[in-house]
């Protein structure tokens, strides 16, 4: 084992690591060039890198899919059935990581959530304030639902309530759609900021604004989604 002081071995770890099998320095992406063994996807590898994409929010679905299939073929556990147990385990773990990465990046909302997680260091200090009007609406709706559930479904009062709840449901669904429609524009703004160098104060402010707005949209969307689920459960 190496006897280097901890600080130095950490640097080594951050550079390219060694092949788990033959210990030669790795140059290939997922295979050792010398012994041709499959290499585990590092835990530090983000989903964008994992799928061979730059860390951008606007993604061409065709490219995402093509990269996913290509890597799936590379890692698929079926191709490792005759290999050693270690190699089988690596291919399985890689395939699982790849699937999660693909599922996450495929859906724009999950993709944005994931990016916000990656940028968490920057966003943590930005706390979005909850929108009071939305909260009041949710609590009011929750009370209407309680009344609705407590009454016999066929009563006249409940028929009226049902009509109001259906109306609310439509308006919340519209609101959710409006929020989601705002995302592509924010994605484009974020990507443009990433391409901009060097980073100055102005672009840092812009960056925070875009991240904060994305956080707001995703949070409000979750609140609305939860109350909508409850609504749909109760009124069908």
């Amino acid at each position: 084992m190496n006897q280097q002081p901890p600080s130095k071995s950490r640097n080594v770890g951050m550079a390219r690591s060694m092949c788990w099998h033959c210990q030669s320095e790795l140059t290939g992406e997922y295979f050792c060039e010398r012994c041709v063994k499959i290499q585990p996807v590092s835990k530090d590898t983000d989903y964008f890198t994992c799928l061979g994409l730059p860390r951008r929010l606007t993604i061409d679905p065709a490219v995402l899919e093509a990269n996913y299939y290509e890597r799936s073929r590379t890692f698929h556990p079926d191709f490792y059935l005759n290999k050693t147990e270690a190699e089988r385990a690596i291919s399985l773990a890689n395939a699982a990581t790849l699937n999660t990465a693909y599922r996450t990046l495929k859906d724009p909302v999950q993709r944005a959530e994931y990016l916000l997680d990656l940028e968490a260091g920057a966003v943590k200090t930005i706390r979005t304030s909850p929108p009071d009007d939305l909260f009041e609406e949710i609590l009011e709706l929750q009370e209407m639902l309680d009344t609705y559930r407590a009454e016999p479904p066929a009563s006249e009062q409940n028929q009226q309530l049902l009509a109001r709840l259906q109306h609310k449901r439509e308006s919340l669904e519209r609101r959710q759609q409006e929020l989601e429609q705002e995302l592509p524009q924010l994605f484009a703004e974020w990507d443009a900021l990433q391409d901009q160098t060097p980073e100055d104060d102005q672009s840092r402010l812009e960056r925070d604004r875009v991240l904060k707005r994305m956080r707001e949209i995703l949070s409000n969307r979750t609140y609305i989604k939860n109350i909508l689920n409850d609504l749909i459960d109760s009124i069908g």
């Binding site: 909260f135 609590l139 609140y223 939860n226």
Partner: protein, 134 residues
């Protein structure tokens, strides 16, 4: 995961559920939410002579969130504003035996208390300053 008996008790018999009018005399309102799970909590205090004489809550969320806010209103009643400021989420965790995955519910309750206190103090300050300028 099972809820503790205390959580179930607060969930089945929530204390002080309801609300005060927002602009009622001496009322402070705290409204907070957890974006991760979509829980929404509204907690209100009614203050007379620097002491909380009544508290109410409305929570839309899981059992632990409801129990945390219910317990918070119980604790708030009778406390001075300074004492109320001292309530920590860890006290709630301990009292309700919340498991690690539900700690954020107690954090939400503490945030709601702080928000309600801040809202009351803001309103009180606005009242004195407008009173003195007249």
């Amino acid at each position: 995961m099972a809820y503790s008996d205390k959580v179930i008790d607060h969930f089945n018999n929530p204390r002080n559920m309801g609300s005060f009018g927002k602009d009622e005399e001496g009322v402070g309102t705290g409204m907070v939410g957890a974006p991760e799970c979509g829980d929404v909590m509204k907690l209100q205090i009614k203050v007379q002579d620097n002491r909380i004489v009544d508290a109410k809550f409305k929570t839309f969320g899981c059992g632990s969130a409801i129990a945390s806010s219910s317990l918070a209103t119980e604790w708030l009643k009778g406390k001075t504003l300074e004492e109320a400021q001292q309530i920590k989420n860890t006290d709630i965790v301990q009292e309700l035996n919340l498991p690690p995955v539900k700690i954020h519910c107690s954090v939400l309750a503490e945030d709601a208390i702080k928000a309600a206190l801040a809202d009351y103090q803001k309103k009180a300050a606005a009242k004195t300053s407008s009173g003195s300028s007249q």
